[in-house]
Symmetry: C2
C-alpha cells in the first residue's frame, strides 16, 4: 500500500472538507503538503504555510505524487491535470465540465504517462456511479440508464413542488446551503447534467460524446402551471439525464425535465439527493442513490478515489470496444408534454401523434409523440416561455 503526498488545488467547500477529513484520518497515511489557491488574502481555517498561489510549488515538487484538483475554472483545471500527469503524478478531479469536454486527451495522457486519473466525485457526489459502471457492470449489457444527477436543480424542483416556493427564492436558498455552484446557469440550464451524462456514457458504453451535442433543456422555463399539472396527475417533475438503447448498439441520450410517477424509484429522490436507475439484461433494474452535492458527500467521493490510489487503482475503460453510437439518436420517438402561453402559436405538425390538447385563458398544453430530432429543430429549447417535459 502506498503512502501518498498530496498537492491540493482549491480550498472551497469541498477542498476544505477533504483537508479536514484527512487530518482526522492519519491511518490513511496520506498528507496534504501544499494547497494552491487564487486569493492569498482570504482568511482560511488551516496553517498559513500550507498555502501558495504558485501552481509550480505543487506541480514541480517531486515529493508530491498525487494532485487533487478541486477548482471551478475548467481551463485552469485542465492545465493542472495535464501538467500533473505529464510529471508522472496521479490525479483526482471533480471537475465534470473539464473532464467531459476533454475525455479524449485525458485518456491519452493516462496511457502515455501510465498514471491514474480518477473522478468519482464528478458524477452524483457520494454515489459510486463511475466505479460501479467501470467495475461491476462491465460485463452486463446495459439497455438504459436514467437518473437525477444534479443536486441543485433537484433541490429547487423539490422545494418548488413541496412548498410552492418560487424558483428565484429557492435558487438563492440552494446557493446559501452550498447546493448550487458559483455559476447557477450550469445547473439550472441542465449543462452540468450533460457533462455527467457524458461521463456515464463513456464508462457505460465506451463512447465519447460532445456534451454540447446532447439534447438539453433545463428547469428555468418550468411554470407553476406545469407543477399543478404534475400534482393533479400524482407525478413530480425531475430533471432527468438518460440514455436508452434504441436498437442494437444504437442509443439515445438527453437531459430534459420529466414527469415521474409514484412507481419510479426516482419519485422519492428529493432535495440534494441524486439517484440513478441502471437497466441491464441480466440484473434487471438496479438503483443507486445518495447525496449528490454538499461538502462532505463530495469529499467522501474524493476520499474514496484517494484511498483507491493507495492501492494503485486506475480506470480500465473496458467498454471502449463495444461500438455504441448515438447517430440515429434523433430518430428516436419520445412522449412529450409541451406547455406555452395561451396566445402563442405552436406548430404541432412535427408531432407524429397528438394525445391531448388543452388551451385555457393563460396557458395551454399538448401531449404527443415526437422524435428527438424534431424537438432539437424546434425553438422550444431556447424559448423560456415554453416548458418541455417528457412523459415516459
Amino acid at each position: 500500500m502506498k503512502t501518498l503526498t498530496i498537492g491540493l488545488f482549491g480550498f472551497g467547500v469541498v477542498g476544505e472538507g477533504i483537508y479536514r477529513v484527512l487530518l482526522e484520518r492519519p491511518e490513511l497515511g496520506t498528507r496534504i503538503k501544499r494547497i494552491c489557491i487564487r486569493n492569498p488574502e482570504k482568511n482560511r481555517n488551516a496553517p498559513k504555510e500550507l498555502f501558495t498561489t504558485l501552481a509550480g510549488d505543487i506541480l514541480d515538487d517531486p515529493e508530491i505524487d498525487l494532485v487533487v484538483e478541486l477548482i471551478d475554472d475548467a481551463d485552469a483545471a485542465l492545465r493542472i491535470c495535464r501538467k500533473a500527469m505529464q510529471s508522472g503524478k496521479v490525479v483526482v478531479s471533480a471537475n465534470k465540465k473539464m473532464i467531459a469536454e476533454n475525455l479524449t486527451e485525458l485518456v491519452a495522457l493516462q496511457t502515455k504517462h501510465n498514471v491514474s486519473f480518477l473522478y468519482e466525485a464528478a458524477v452524483c457526489g457520494s454515489v459510486p456511479i463511475i466505479r460501479n459502471l467501470e467495475e461491476y457492470f462491465d460485463n452486463d449489457w446495459l439497455h438504459s440508464i436514467s437518473g437525477i444527477v444534479n443536486g441543485s436543480t433537484n433541490y429547487i424542483l423539490t422545494q418548488m413542488s413541496l412548498n410552492g416556493h418560487a424558483y428565484d427564492e429557492v435558487l438563492t436558498k440552494a446557493q446559501e446551503l452550498g447546493f448550487a455552484e458559483s455559476d447557477p446557469s450550469l445547473d439550472v440550464e441542465g449543462i452540468d447534467a450533460t457533462y455527467k451524462l457524458c461521463l456515464i456514457l463513456f464508462h457505460a458504453f465506451g463512447v465519447i460524446v460532445d456534451p454540447h451535442s446532447i439534447l438539453r433543456k433545463g428547469i428555468t422555463s418550468l411554470h407553476p402551471f406545469d407543477m399543478q399539472y404534475a400534482h393533479e396527475k400524482g407525478k413530480r417533475i425531475k430533471l432527468i439525464a438518460r440514455t436508452n438503447r434504441v436498437n442494437g448498439t444504437q442509443y439515445s441520450a438527453a437531459v430534459l425535465p420529466g414527469f415521474v410517477g409514484h412507481s419510479s424509484k426516482l419519485f422519492d429522490v428529493n432535495n440534494e439527493y441524486n439517484g440513478l436507475l441502471i437497466g441491464s439484461s441480466l440484473a434487471d433494474e438496479q438503483f443507486l442513490s445518495g447525496k449528490g452535492a454538499g461538502r462532505y458527500p463530495t469529499a467522501s467521493a474524493v476520499l474514496s478515489d484517494i484511498s483507491a490510489l493507495r492501492y494503485g487503482y486506475k480506470y480500465e475503460y473496458r467498454k471502449h470496444s463495444i461500438g455504441v453510437d448515438l447517430s440515429s439518436h434523433d430518430k428516436t420517438t419520445v412522449e412529450l408534454y409541451l406547455s406555452y402561453p395561451a396566445r402563442k402559436k405552436i406548430d404541432d405538425s412535427v408531432f407524429s401523434q397528438i394525445h391531448e390538447s388543452y388551451r385555457g385563458t393563460d396557458r395551454g398544453y399538448l401531449t404527443g409523440s415526437i422524435t428527438i430530432g424534431h424537438i432539437r429543430e424546434s425553438d422550444w429549447l431556447k424559448d423560456n416561455t415554453v416548458s418541455v417535459i417528457t412523459l415516459n
Copy 2:
C-alpha cells in the same frame, strides 16, 4: 487480461443461467470445460460430454483455473472450495451458509495459496454490496447498515401485505417462481439473512461473527393481526438485517421483522427485490437496490465476479484492522412491538419502558423499550405464537 477455463459445480437455476450467459458472450474469452452434477440421469439443456459426477474431473484438471461453485450442500461446497484453492485455482461461490460459517478458514486459504475467492452473489443477488463495501466505502466510517437481504421472505411479506394472501399459499408460489431455496426454513426463519449479515459485517468492519450467535427471528410467526396493525399505521413489515454503531467501535447486529414507514427507502423495496441502506459519516445515507433472487440476477453477480477475475481482482479485506466488536451488543436498547394470543401471559417486566399495551378478545400487543439481551433471553424467539417486530 486472462482467459479463464471454468469448472462448474451445480447445474440448477443459477448454474444453468451462467452456462447460457457465457455461451452468448464469447467476447469474455471464458469457457466452461466441465460441469459436475450429482444426478447423471436428469435431462439437461447442454451437451452430454460436459457433465461429470466426479469432482476430481474438475479439481484435478490443471487446465481449469476457475471453479464456480453453485451447489446447495454447504459441506460439499466447502470441500470443493478448499480443494480448488489448495490446487491454486481461483473460486467463485454463491453459498452464503458455507462462506459465513467458514470465513476464518476461507480467508486463510486465500492468503496461503495466493488465490482469489469471490462471492458477490452470496449477498443480495445482483446488487453489488460486497464490492462496494470492499472497494468504495473502505475509507468511510460506517455507522449503520440495514436492509432487506432475502428475496424469498420479502416476496412472501409483500404478497401477504398487498394481496392479503396466507403465508403457506404465498410460500408455495415463491418456490414455484424460484424465489425460495430448496429448504425454505433457511429463508423464512431468517437464517439465510444472518449469513448475509455476517458477510456484510465482515466486509464493512472486518469482524468475523458466528452467524448462529446473531439475534434472529424470521417471519413464520407473523400474524394477520400484525399485518393489520402495520396497515393502520401506514407501515409495512419487512425482514430487516441490521447493524448499528452503539458507541465507539461497539456495534449491534440482528435479523428481525421490522415496521418500515413511508419515509424509509426500504418501504418500496417489494417482492424479490433487495435493498440496503448504508449510513456513513461523510456520505450520509446511501441506498442500493435491485433484484435479490432469481436465475439471471444471481447469474449477473456471478458473472461480475468471473469478469473481475479476468483482471486478477481479489478482496483485500481492508477493514480487518478496525477492531469493531459486538460484545456489548446485548446491552443495546431497541423499540419493540410484541403481539401474542390474548390468553397468553407475557412477562413485561423485562421492558425498561412500556409505551402501549392492548388486549382484545383474540390477540394482544405491547410496545416498549427493551435491550437485545432481554429479547435473547425471552422465549418469544422460539414461540411461534408470538410476533417480535422492531419499531425503529
